[in-house]
């Protein structure tokens, strides 16, 4: 047979706009320190240290970034921010919240769908750990269940300084005639 065996289109039809039902929850482990991690059943010090290092390395990449310390503290609380090693293109400082813990896969379940990453606590919801892209993880350390989306590597929140830098070439052509598609 030269054709697809089955074909279902959920997103295209207006009646079923999400595929949320297909999102498999993941078991994750949340810790504030390597020591906490090492005392968790089935976890070992070596893996705990390696994952902490990995989360710290991710911290600079995925932490929300601000161009003023005040804006950062408004979201994360007084003295809860630090200076990022990054610089803006005009040489200004970049601020980000302190890393408050880290998330890794559950070593007991052996699943690998979890991206090791730093966790934060925002001022307006200080009891919960959150990922760099502001997904709620859990209020406690140890093992928790989160959505598959939360377990994945986070996108990075940043400040957009300009929009509209794409599309001028298309506009230039479109103004010269009728256009059905810019692809073709």
């Amino acid at each position: 047979m030269k054709r697809s065996r089955t074909l279902t289109l959920a997103l295209m039809s207006a009646t079923a706009l999400t595929l949320a039902a297909c999102d498999n929850p993941e078991e994750v482990a949340v810790f504030e320190t390597v020591e906490q991690c090492a005392t968790q059943d089935g976890f070992n010090l070596q893996a705990c240290e390696a994952n902490m290092k990995q989360a710290q390395a991710e911290h600079v990449r995925v932490a929300p970034k601000y161009t003023s310390a005040a804006d950062c503290e408004a979201d994360f609380g007084a003295e809860q921010c630090e200076t990022s090693p990054q610089r803006t293109t005009s040489g200004g400082s970049v601020f980000m919240p302190l890393m408050m813990g880290y998330m890794m896969g559950n070593m007991m379940s052996g699943r690998s769908g979890v991206a090791t990453q730093p966790l934060y606590r925002s001022r307006d919801d200080a009891k919960n750990f959150r990922t760099g892209d502001n997904q709620k993880v859990s209020g406690k350390t140890g093992i928790s269940k989160v959505s598959g989306q939360t377990a994945r590597a986070p996108s990075t929140k940043t400040s957009t300084i300009k929009r509209g830098g794409f599309g001028s070439a298309a506009r230039a052509r479109a103004s010269m005639g009728k256009f059905r598609s810019f692809g073709g």
């Binding site: 054709r3 959920a10 295209m12 161009t67 986070p154 929009r163 599309g167 070439a169 052509r173 692809g183």
Partner: protein, 386 residues
């Protein structure tokens, strides 16, 4: 290969509207046309379309490798010099390609001839992959066509599989330009394929993409974009302000930058130079090549970069020259030996052979009233029935 007049499904417009296929009728005329279908034999599909498509793709890769090593060729293709290193590294890093459409002239006999390769921003994907498939299932069930018909169309399965193999970390952003239902529809279908492969996706318009202080691209929620599918031609990306920031933005782009060499009509003379005489190729030259004057029996002059037949000129011996207006051509032209599309009941028929992750996996047929396929073309379904 036959054109067979058939009955339309009485409810296809309702179905199309429900499925979000909202460009089935354009400028008051049908674009999706199921008042007829094309019938092929399995051997025609496998020997004349599928295998040659795979072979053409391999030849194209040799052209890319050669072009990237030659400043002369990159210059002939009018690719801005500032992007040469970026394009080269997209190839060296083996950035994965998703999909493309080879446009072929084929009448059921003899070798199909490559007219051009839309390797960057092909549309008519949804019609080929999904709506045509649904038509086949329903047309058999409703006895519009005989039972046991098949179709060269595993595009959907192959797209989902390709996305599974892409290894995209985090979210996939997908974008098209404002003002085209057809482009948005195509991108939404591609988004659906990605979602079915388990990817997290978000759509936005090209015009709404932002940039942050570190030169990273951002979406409308101020989240950085790590992987971007763009239904927006590379030559326009390279001309736009943010395009110049792209090489340092850390964004992985689909289609990757090296596809710009294949979607350029300069591909055609480069293929002919490297594989002269290949049965699926037509003689082609850059317009300023003296050999261009030797083309016998008419030729087609095409801008290096153009869409929907814009600024294409067909010079035919003993007949008037045909010309499509458009805003293209400033980068230069190529000429290709004339190999007119076959005519079925007054319709000029072009075959679009789909490659997904470089694998031939389906076909879409368009008809136009003119020998040059334009934005007035219509899409017709096909069956395989021996």
């Amino acid at each position: 290969m036959q054109r067979i007049t058939i009955e339309e499904r009485d409810d296809w417009k309702t179905q199309a509207d429900e499925l979000g296929f909202n460009f089935h009728t354009l400028y008051g005329a049908a674009y999706w046309d199921e008042t007829a279908c094309y019938r092929f034999g399995l051997q025609q599909i496998e020997n004349d379309i599928e295998d040659p498509s795979e072979e053409i793709e391999k030849m194209c890769f040799e052209v890319v490798a050669r072009a990237l090593d030659s400043e002369e060729i990159m210059g002939k293709l009018a690719i801005p010099e500032g992007f040469w290193d970026y394009i080269r590294s997209s190839w060296m890093n083996q950035e994965k390609n998703l999909y493309g459409r080879l446009d072929l002239s084929y009448d059921g006999n003899g070798p199909a001839k490559l007219l051009e390769y839309n390797a960057d921003t092909p549309t008519s994907l949804y019609e080929s992959a999904a709506f045509q498939w649904v038509w086949l299932e329903q047309a058999m069930k409703r006895e519009i066509i005989p039972p046991g018909c098949d179709q060269f169309n595993s595009i959907h399965e192959t797209m989902v599989e390709a996305f599974r193999n892409f290894g995209i970390p985090g979210k996939l952003h997908l974008a098209s330009c404002k003002g085209s239902d057809e482009d948005a529809g195509t991108v939404h279908y591609i988004e659906e394929c990605a979602a079915q492969a388990g990817l997290e996706t978000a759509f936005l318009f090209m015009e709404d993409i932002g940039i942050d202080a570190a030169g990273r691209l951002t979406d409308t929620d101020d989240l950085t974009i790590s992987t971007l599918f763009k239904l927006y031609p590379w030559e326009w990306v390279m001309a736009d302000e943010f395009g110049r920031a792209l090489p340092k933005s850390g964004v992985t782009v689909i289609e990757p930058a090296w596809r710009a060499i294949l979607s350029n009509k300069g591909l055609l003379p480069l293929l002919w130079e490297m594989f002269e005489g290949h049965p699926n190729l037509l003689p082609a030259y850059f317009a300023d090549d003296p050999r261009a004057a030797d083309l016998q029996g008419g030729y087609v002059r095409k801008p290096l970069l153009s869409r929907e037949g814009g600024n294409v000129e067909m010079v035919r011996p003993g007949e008037e020259t045909l010309m499509v207006e458009g805003p293209y051509g400033e980068e230069g032209f190529i000429v290709q030996a004339l190999h007119p599309l076959p005519v079925f009941e007054g319709n000029h028929t072009v075959i679009g052979s789909w490659l997904v992750a470089s694998k031939p996996c389906g076909m879409g047929i368009r008809e136009d009233n003119s020998p040059i396929t334009k934005d007035s073309s219509r899409f017709l379904p096909h069956v395989i029935l021996d």
